[in-house]
Symmetry: C2
Subunit: 202 residues, 2 copies
């Protein structure tokens, strides 16, 4: 990605990425052309290739990174401070709300499929997102343990991985079926497991 060196250039580059993200959410990757993006971003063909010399793939990757950054940001401040039952509850609601609002768009999943598993860049973005996400869940579980709210024997690694998997699956089922039942079940089930461990502690 060719970085812009003037304010005007940076603005154009940002307009392209954000415009592209919009169009991609609306139409899906496979139905979006560079010309759609160009139109939405009020840019010209040459600007696209000026800032993303690698062409469509490079632009798509930039959009994927941009979307990935939003995923965690949208869960804050809740995700960052999961140290009480109330904060877990607020986080749960924030996740449900975010994905129900997003509806049947899965920018990241779609982008990933298009750019292809082969490209190392795409895989790195997703891997890093998952790593950070799970770490924050695990930190939250350990915070409950530290506060004496959850048994010290609670398997944080396994449960945080399972919870993350449940969220991903819940979201992808919702994409396909339009129904958020599974997402809610995964979240509630994860939290219920924590509470169960608290009850056994008492």
């Amino acid at each position: 990605m060719q970085n812009a060196s003037t304010a005007k250039g940076r603005a154009t580059q940002a307009r392209i990425v954000e415009g592209a993200a919009e169009v991609l959410r609306e139409q899906g990757v496979s139905f979006t052309t560079l010309d759609d993006i160009r139109a939405r971003a009020n840019a010209s063909k040459s600007q696209l290739f000026h800032y993303f010399p690698g062409g469509k793939d490079e632009l798509l990757l930039a959009v994927a990174q941009w979307e990935a950054d939003r995923v965690l940001a949208d869960q804050q401040p809740h995700l960052g401070s999961l140290d009480s039952w109330e904060s877990w509850g607020r986080w749960r609601d924030a996740v449900v709300e975010r994905y129900e609002r997003q509806g049947d768009q899965c920018p990241l999943g779609a982008l990933f499929l298009q750019v292809g598993r082969s490209t190392p860049g795409a895989r790195a973005i997703v891997t890093e997102l998952m790593r950070q996400w799970q770490k924050q869940l695990a930190d939250g579980m350990r915070a409950l343990q530290a506060g004496g709210l959850v048994s010290p024997g609670f398997d944080v690694e396994r449960c945080s991985a399972a919870l993350l998997a449940g969220i991903q699956g819940g979201v992808s089922i919702m994409m396909s079926t339009g129904d958020s039942t599974h997402l809610k079940a995964a979240l509630d089930n994860g939290i219920e497991q924590l509470r169960e461990s608290a009850r056994r502690l008492a």
Copy 2:
């Protein structure tokens, strides 16, 4: 889908669907052309359109249905008789094995994204698959309850939904990162929850 009326015709039609499924798994939907499919299936362009007058979309949908049928079939006979701890364990291993072997191909997910959320057919296939899958998990959980192995208070609906979500998410994380940790965590966590409920019963 125009159904064939002779044995030869049926053979050709089957060759097309299965050949298409193969190529799609290998190359991914967005990099597969009708010509790739035609070549693999030893068919000609006119045959493709003879049996799938709706063109590529219709063919893709037929492949999606074919893949969906395999998903549950591949988990049998285990999935159909989850009435003991041993059968749950065998099923768990079968799922992990199947998806690890499949690697980073997600025929169904990719197909769905390509055909598009808008088409009612695609959505129906996924919805029905999820419904059946969850039902079999729930049946298994109730079988354990009936056998006195799991507490009657165990929330079968929520847990089967969460387990299904965990599997889906585990698989999709594995697609993106190449790592099956999350899938295993989701499965083991679900089964562990059942066992926990058994311990409380004792």
